[in-house]
């Protein structure tokens, strides 16, 4: 076998492997749509998305997922608003300020946090955070938006922090030197040069952190409380979309309307995370600043 044939064979072997992941993803999406779309023969898209009542097992059932969408959005937004400042500041501290020793420790601790199984975090939310919230604020239940948002934030921090950190490291050294040489302090250099230059990467980090939070299932299943109603306050329980799917799929008869409705929720989630990823991609291109002194 000559060298040329070998090259061709190697090329196709790699092509096949990369094709496998695309095909598998395609098949998953296909089955998601095949199982979910028939529900729209029974309920209109508008009633499904904007309907206020989710009673899939009643007779007649109602399949309005608006409270579930609201539940997902509210915990995601709350979690993001907690996780973004913490994650970004941690990244800035690690990449720009911390001395070598502390930097190594912090990095590995945050990586460890990323590796925690979500069920462990959910369990922590259930047995530690929930009773504490219940006692402190005198609530009927500690399984609510605040609890879920805090736990989700803890899950999103490693994503946000490590991607922001990469973006901060990618800021050319020349920019920092130029800033220091003009008599800027470290703080001025960070806020006026480093963060603006890393903004596209940081925005990507935020979007991916949100995507992580909105798709997370175990935590919201365990600590969000599971009430399929529009919440009136931050101490109310909600039932985010992934929690509904996970909780109900087991008892929904195969290919029943309920089963199809749960798949349709999956489609909605799929589009939401797709949107987050597309926005992240767009943002990272849109705000990309041209590198240093290109000649």
């Amino acid at each position: 076998m000559n060298r040329h044939t070998k090259e061709i064979i190697i090329k196709y072997v790699f092509f096949t492997f990369s094709l496998v992941s695309i095909v598998v993803l395609g098949l998953i999406v296909f089955s998601l749509f095949r199982e979910g779309l028939p529900i729209f023969g029974k309920v209109s898209v508008k009633d499904f998305l904007l309907g206020m009542e989710w009673y899939p097992t009643y007779d007649p059932p109602s399949f309005g997922i608006f409270p579930l969408i609201i539940g997902s959005l509210i915990v995601t937004i709350m979690a993001t608003s907690i996780a973004v400042p913490l994650g970004v500041m941690a990244a800035i501290y690690i990449s720009e300020i911390a001395p070598q020793g502390i930097k190594e420790i912090l990095k590995s601790v945050i990586e460890l946090l990323a590796g925690l199984p979500s069920v462990v975090l959910g369990f922590f939310g259930m047995v530690v955070v929930a009773p504490w919230l219940q006692d402190t604020f005198d609530l009927p239940t500690g399984l609510n938006i605040i609890n879920a948002s805090m736990i989700l934030a803890i899950m999103a921090i490693p994503t946000i922090s490590s991607i922001s950190e990469d973006a901060l490291y990618a800021v050319p050294r020349e920019f920092k030197e130029a800033s220091y040489a003009l008599g800027a302090t470290k703080f001025e250099t960070i806020t006026r040069v480093i963060i603006p230059s890393a903004l596209s990467g940081i925005s990507t980090a935020v979007m991916l952190g949100m995507a992580r939070a909105i798709g997370e299932t175990m935590v919201v299943l365990m600590v969000a409380g599971g009430a399929a109603a529009i919440p009136e306050g931050l101490f109310d329980s909600v039932r985010p979309m992934p929690a509904s799917i996970a909780a109900e799929m087991g008892e929904a008869p195969f290919r029943s309307a309920h089963y199809q409705a749960l798949f349709a929720i999956g489609i909605v989630l799929f589009f939401l995370t797709l949107a987050f990823n597309l926005i992240a991609d767009y943002v990272s291109h849109k705000f990309r600043q041209i590198g240093s002194g290109t000649l």
Partner: protein, 252 residues
């Protein structure tokens, strides 16, 4: 002490961790002159330049011995704020490094840190760009990104940015090594012009450049100052054999 001496180094030793990069450097830089630092790679000339505005502070594990007097004050004394030093001693780097901001904001970056008003800012920007002979080329695109400029223009922008701080001294670390010959010529003309108002200390790899633009030249080898004299003298009749060997290209 001569009144025209602006920087005085007294037995300066510099260490990166354990290794010594500069040994017992004693030399004076004179006001409104162009002083060139030459020598082969790794001889410590850039390190010396970066010592003068305390840029080496930014590198972990470095240590300075001896004293560097700027206007008769030791810039490495305990109570000296490096930020103050860097405002008075500007720096231009090897690779043009404008910020990814507009041309205007590149110039106003430094002065804004010191809290100068906006009305004065327009004048200052214009003045700085004119000094760097860039004004005519960029006056209509002040709000465009500096990244759109050519390499030579970017480097003059960096000079203008340093001038906007109204420094006493301008340190230049091989400012033309990344530029084409035409841009290099422009920068050299500019240096000629600037020395009327500023003291310029320039590191260069290019011996012809040192000969063309500098008044005084220092030759470094392996962290030692071998010879420091009038440029003319160094290039025509150096005292030390080693210098002659380097200049005539016998090693380097």
């Amino acid at each position: 002490m001569d009144s025209d001496i602006i920087i005085k180094l007294n037995k300066v030793n510099f260490y990166y961790g354990q290794s010594r990069a500069l040994t017992d450097i004693t030399m004076n830089f004179r006001k409104n002159k162009v002083s060139a630092l030459i020598g082969p790679s790794g001889c410590g000339k850039s390190t010396l330049l970066r010592l003068l505005n305390r840029m080496n502070d930014l590198i972990d594990g470095t240590r300075v011995e001896g004293e560097i007097l700027f206007e008769e004050k030791n810039i490495y004394a305990q109570n000296v704020d490096p930020v103050e030093i860097r405002r008075k001693i500007g720096m231009v780097f090897q690779k043009p490094n404008p910020f990814p901001k507009t041309i205007y904001n590149n110039i106003s970056y430094g002065p804004k840190l010191t809290g100068i008003g906006v009305e004065d800012m327009d004048t200052l920007v214009e003045q700085s760009l004119k000094r760097a002979v860039l004004w005519d080329e960029v006056k209509d695109i002040l709000n465009k990104s500096a990244m759109n400029l050519s390499g030579g223009q970017q480097q003059r922008l960096c000079i203008a940015r340093a001038l906007a701080m109204k420094p006493d001294i301008l340190l230049m670390d091989e400012p033309t090594s990344a530029l084409d010959p035409i841009s290099t010529a422009k920068i050299e003309e500019l240096i000629e012009e600037l020395k009327k108002n500023y003291t310029i200390i320039i590191v260069t790899h290019n011996m012809q450049q040192a000969a063309r633009i500098s008044d005084e030249t220092a030759f470094f080898y392996l962290g030692n100052l071998v010879e420091y004299n009038k440029t003319e003298k160094i290039f025509t009749n150096p005292d030390v054999k080693h210098t002659e060997d380097y200049i005539t290209g016998r090693f380097g």
